[in-house]
C-alpha cells in the first residue's frame, strides 16, 4: 500500500488533507480483523473515526488521547524517548495506539488479529502522515 499512497500523500495540497486523513482511517478499518480506527488529536478532538456503532466515539477518543499523553509525559519524566506504538491486549480484542505528528492513531481489532499486519499498517499510516504534514505544518 505504502508506495502508491505515499505518492498520493505528497501530491495532496493542503485543502484535501481532511479527505486524506479520512482515507487513512478507512484503509486501517478495511484490514482483516479490524473493527474500527480513529485519529484523535492530543487534546481529545476526533480528527477522523470509523468505529462500530456500539462504541461511543467521544468517550473513547478522550481516553485514547489521555493514554497517548500519559505515555508521552511518563517518558519525558523518565528521560526516555517517547513511545512510537503500543498494543493493549484484552479478553475480547486488542487496541493499538501509534503516535503521529497530528495525534494518535487508534485501531481496535479482534483478539486473534495478526499483530505484525497491524503494526506494519500503522507504520505505513504514520509514514503517510509524516509525508503529507511537513515538519512545521502540524507543530508550527
Amino acid at each position: 500500500m505504502s508506495g502508491t499512497r505515499l505518492k498520493l500523500a505528497l501530491e495532496h495540497d493542503g485543502a484535501s488533507r481532511g479527505r486524506h486523513v479520512r482515507d487513512i482511517v478507512e484503509e486501517l478499518k478495511r484490514l482483516y480483523g479490524v473493527r474500527g480506527a480513529l485519529i484523535v488529536a492530543p487534546d481529545g478532538f476526533v480528527i477522523a473515526a470509523e468505529l462500530p456503532g456500539s462504541v461511543e466515539v467521544d468517550s473513547l477518543a478522550a481516553l485514547a488521547a489521555t493514554l497517548g499523553r500519559e505515555l508521552e509525559t511518563s517518558a519525558t519524566r523518565m528521560g526516555r524517548p517517547s513511545f512510537s506504538t503500543a498494543l493493549f491486549s484484552a479478553d475480547d480484542g486488542t487496541m493499538f495506539l501509534a503516535a503521529s505528528r497530528i495525534g494518535y492513531l487508534v485501531v481496535l481489532a479482534e483478539a486473534q488479529v495478526s499483530v505484525q499486519t497491524i503494526r506494519t499498517a500503522l507504520a505505513d499510516a504514520i509514514a503517510l502522515i509524516e509525508a503529507a504534514w511537513a515538519p512545521g505544518e502540524a507543530t508550527g
Binding site: 478532538f45 486488542t94 505544518e137
Partner: protein
C-alpha cells in the same frame, strides 16, 4: 467600531479576513491536523478581537495539540475568567491536571463541568477514570519481596519491574533509584489503558507492549499484579510475550500466588543477566 474591526484589512498584504471567517478557517485546519496554520489564523483573529472567547479556546486546544501545556493552561484560564462555567475549558484544564498528576484538581474541574452539562461524554469518561483510580483499594500488607535475583531475565533483558496496580513497587531488576517511579508510571498507564479498553468493549487488560526508539516493554497483568520486562526494540513480539509469561509464572511462584511450579518457557536468549547471578534456575 466593532464592524470596522470585523472588516479589518491588514496592511501587510495578507488577505482581508473577518474574525468569524478566520475562526471558521482555523477550525477547518484543526480538523485536518494543520495546527500551525490554524494557530496563525487564530492569532489573526485575536489581533482584531483580543477578547474573543472562541479564539482563546481554540488557541488553548491548539497549544494542547502541539503539546505546549503552559500556554494552553493560560488560555483555558483566560476563558474561565470570562465564563467560569465553560465546560470545554474546564475539561481542558482537567486533562492537564491529570497529566500533571493533580488528581484532586482534575476531579473538581470535571465535577464542575458535569454539574452544568451532565451530558458530556468526554468529561464523564475522564471522571470515571479518576474515580476508579481514587477508589483503588489500599495496598495490601506488603507481600514478601520475591527473590528477584532468582528470576532470570533473558540475556537481552534490560529491566524487570514487578509491581501492583496501585503503583506500589514489589521488586525490580536491576535495583535502581527510579524503579519506584517507573512502577507508578506503569500502573497509571495501565489504568488509563484499562479504562479505554472498557470503553471500546474489549474487556479487561492482560498484556501490553509499548515501544519507543530504544526498547519494547512487554507487560502482563491480572488487574492486581504487574510484571514488566524491557527488551530491545527489535525483539520479536511473540518471543517477548513468551519471556514475560515465563517471568509472570516465576513471579507468581515466588509470591506464593501460584499453586504449582512455574511454567517453563524457552527464553529468547541464554540467561546471563549481568550482575545477577541466580542461585537457582527458576524456569
Amino acid at each position: 467600531m466593532t464592524i470596522l474591526r470585523r472588516l479589518w484589512t491588514p496592511r501587510d498584504g495578507r488577505e482581508s479576513l473577518s474574525v468569524p471567517d478566520a475562526l471558521r478557517r482555523a477550525e477547518l485546519r484543526r480538523r485536518e491536523g494543520r495546527y500551525a496554520e490554524a494557530g496563525a489564523l487564530v492569532a489573526r483573529a485575536l489581533e482584531i478581537d483580543a477578547g474573543n472567547l472562541h479564539a482563546h479556546l481554540l488557541a488553548a486546544y491548539l497549544h494542547v495539540a502541539r503539546r505546549a501545556t503552559a500556554p494552553a493552561k493560560e488560555e483555558f484560564h483566560w476563558v474561565l475568567g470570562h465564563d467560569p462555567n465553560h465546560a470545554r475549558a474546564l475539561l481542558g484544564l482537567a486533562r492537564i491536571a491529570f497529566e500533571e498528576r493533580d488528581t484532586r484538581t482534575c476531579h473538581d474541574l470535571l465535577r464542575r463541568a458535569l454539574r452544568f452539562y451532565p451530558e458530556f461524554p468526554e468529561a464523564s469518561a475522564l471522571l470515571e477514570l479518576v474515580r476508579a483510580r481514587e477508589a483503588a483499594p489500599p495496598p495490601p500488607v506488603a507481600p514478601a519481596a520475591p527473590r528477584v535475583e532468582r528470576l532470570r531475565l533473558p540475556g537481552t533483558g534490560r529491566a524487570l519491574i514487578i509491581g501492583r496496580t496501585d503503583g506500589g513497587l514489589i521488586a525490580s531488576q536491576p535495583v535502581t533509584d527510579d524503579a519506584k517511579d517507573i512502577s507508578e508510571a506503569l500502573a497509571r498507564m495501565l489504568h488509563v489503558a484499562t479504562a479505554a479498553l472498557r470503553r471500546a468493549a474489549l474487556g479487561p487488560l492482560h498484556r501490553a507492549i509499548v515501544e519507543d526508539g530504544r526498547d519494547a516493554v512487554f507487560t502482563r497483568t491480572d488487574g492486581e499484579l504487574i510484571v514488566s520486562l524491557a527488551l530491545p526494540r527489535a525483539t520479536d513480539p511473540t518471543q517477548g510475550l513468551l519471556d514475560v509469561n515465563r517471568l509472570w509464572s516465576a513471579t507468581q511462584h515466588e509470591l506464593g500466588l501460584a499453586a504449582g511450579p512455574p511454567a517453563a518457557a524457552p527464553s529468547s536468549t541464554p540467561a546471563d543477566t549481568p550482575g545477577a547471578v541466580p542461585t537457582r534456575r527458576i524456569s
